[in-house]
């Protein structure tokens, strides 16, 4: 097995052309997914069964099934339904990009809402009591006390989810999208050199992962400046 250096140098720029698509998939799904997560969280902790039950069911389903299956259902499956073909969402759902964004957002929304919920549960009960005792309404308590602290507590798990989301964007290559993985697969199909191509692609993803982790490390540091460090 020889290691074709020229091939590596050739394929890396090609694969990096897919970086734009990878990042679009990542940021768009992250944004939409986080918004969805907040909605689901509020439903989940609302205390009203007709809100929390659907939220719990949604989270259960989307965390309990493989994301690949979710992508296939949305991309291959939805066109089967006339309801979908006639709806206003059809232009989005007809395109693989739209389907990928929808699938990734729906999926990450479920995970992130549980992460936020963990953060909310982690807020010391005494702090919430102090806020009540001072006369703050439950809504004020949530906005000024619970949420800021919960966000800081959620950051580690949230950053892990962002990395997961980035890895999931590679699955877009299974529905014809030419993100970095998609391009890599076409190169491999032509050159029969999986090692060179896939290993270089792996390095690119590792760099991305590292960048995500560094960014969150910086954010965490900024948000924790009031927390006394362990002496």
């Amino acid at each position: 097995m020889s290691f074709d250096l020229d091939l590596i140098l050739d394929s890396i720029p090609q694969m990096l052309m897919g970086l734009g698509l990878t990042l679009q998939l990542l940021f768009l799904s992250l944004a939409l997914g986080t918004v969805l997560a907040i909605i689901l969280l509020l439903m989940r902790i609302s205390g009203r069964w007709f809100l929390s039950a659907p939220a719990m069911a949604y989270i259960y389903i989307f965390r309990g099934t493989p994301i690949l299956v979710q992508i296939f259902i949305i991309y291959y499956g939805l066109p089967q339904l006339e309801l979908v073909r006639d709806s206003i969402l059809w232009p989005i759902l007809r395109e693989p990009f739209g389907c990928a964004i929808v699938a990734l957002s729906l999926n990450t929304g479920a995970y992130v809402s549980e992460i936020f919920r963990g953060g909310v549960l982690g807020v010391d009960r005494g702090l919430k009591e102090a806020a009540s005792a001072l006369g703050l309404s439950p809504r004020q308590r949530f906005i000024y006390i619970t949420a800021p602290i919960a966000i800081r507590l959620s950051l580690p798990a949230y950053s892990n989810d962002v990395v997961s989301l980035m890895k999931s964007t590679a699955l877009a290559s299974t529905i014809t999208l030419l993100d970095m993985t998609g391009i890599a697969r076409t190169i491999v199909a032509e050159t029969y050199a999986p090692y060179e191509v896939f290993l270089s692609l792996m390095v690119i993803y590792l760099v991305l992962t590292w960048m995500i982790q560094r960014s969150f490390g910086w954010i965490e540091k900024r948000m924790s400046r009031h927390v006394r460090s362990e002496i």
Binding site: T169, A170, F198, L199, M202, Y205
Partner: protein
């Protein structure tokens, strides 16, 4: 649902493949996790470095990429190996089942490494001291004191790893394993009902996730039974 008649037993066999894949990967995952965490916790700098490299690479690379790399890579490696013995051989196919279980085990094993490492660190050092004072060897202490104590701490996050494991098995369809997604694709060819069929696959996986979650809950109860009495 009549569309599914005739396909039920195919789905059954497909599901069986998933279960086999799950258990093989699970055993390997525990193995890799224990080796990895032992390496990370050891004083040997070389072992530390290898284990660190292992976790960084396999937690930062998309699962599908690892699968593709393993599948194509091992086919090539195996072919090269076979050509040493018989130059006539053109191509040896590496069974996707084994490529898949190995790849998934390495991926989840990297997460398990971190989980086990944390759990080992959480073991009460007093217990270990007591064991050594009683004359138990390093290995005996490890097997009879450390592992039982660590398992209780590792169980909740490991339950999550098992859920990831079962969901990742769906990806092995991409490299040709004949499990549930494969059956679905065949059925779609005949019935042209992708939505229904992929939904069935989703439901099968949801069923598996539920079983795993319930099993983990039972195990957690069992592992913590000595604490219940103290309440």
């Amino acid at each position: 649902m009549e569309v599914l008649t005739g396909w039920w037993d195919d789905f059954f066999w497909g599901s069986l493949v998933v279960v086999e894949l799950f258990f093989v990967a699970l055993i390997l995952t525990v193995l890799f996790g224990l080796i990895g965490s032992a390496a990370k916790l050891s004083k040997n700098r070389f072992a530390n470095a290898i284990a660190n490299g292992y976790t960084i690479v396999f937690r930062g690379t998309p699962e599908i990429l690892v699968l593709l790399l393993f599948y194509f890579g091992s086919a090539i490696a195996l072919t090269a190996l076979a050509q040493v013995f018989d130059p006539e051989v053109k191509f040896v196919d590496f069974p996707p089942f084994w490529a898949g279980s190995l790849a998934i085990a390495l991926i989840i094993g990297s997460y398990a490494t971190e989980t086990f490492r944390g759990a080992f660190l959480g073991v009460d050092p007093g217990q270990v001291e007591a064991a050594r004072a009683l004359g138990l060897s390093n290995l005996q202490t490890f097997i009879y004191v450390r592992i039982p104590a660590m398992w209780r701490l590792a169980l909740p996050p490991f339950g999550n790893h098992m859920l990831s494991l079962i969901k990742d098995t769906a990806l092995v369809a991409i490299i040709g394993l004949e499990e549930t997604l494969f059956v679905a694709e065949q059925a779609i060819g005949y019935t042209a009902k992708p939505f229904t069929l992929y939904l069935v696959v989703g439901a099968i996986y949801l069923g598996f996730s539920t079983i795993i979650t319930l099993t983990v809950m039972l195990c957690e109860k069992y592992a913590n039974r000595h604490l219940e009495i103290a309440k």
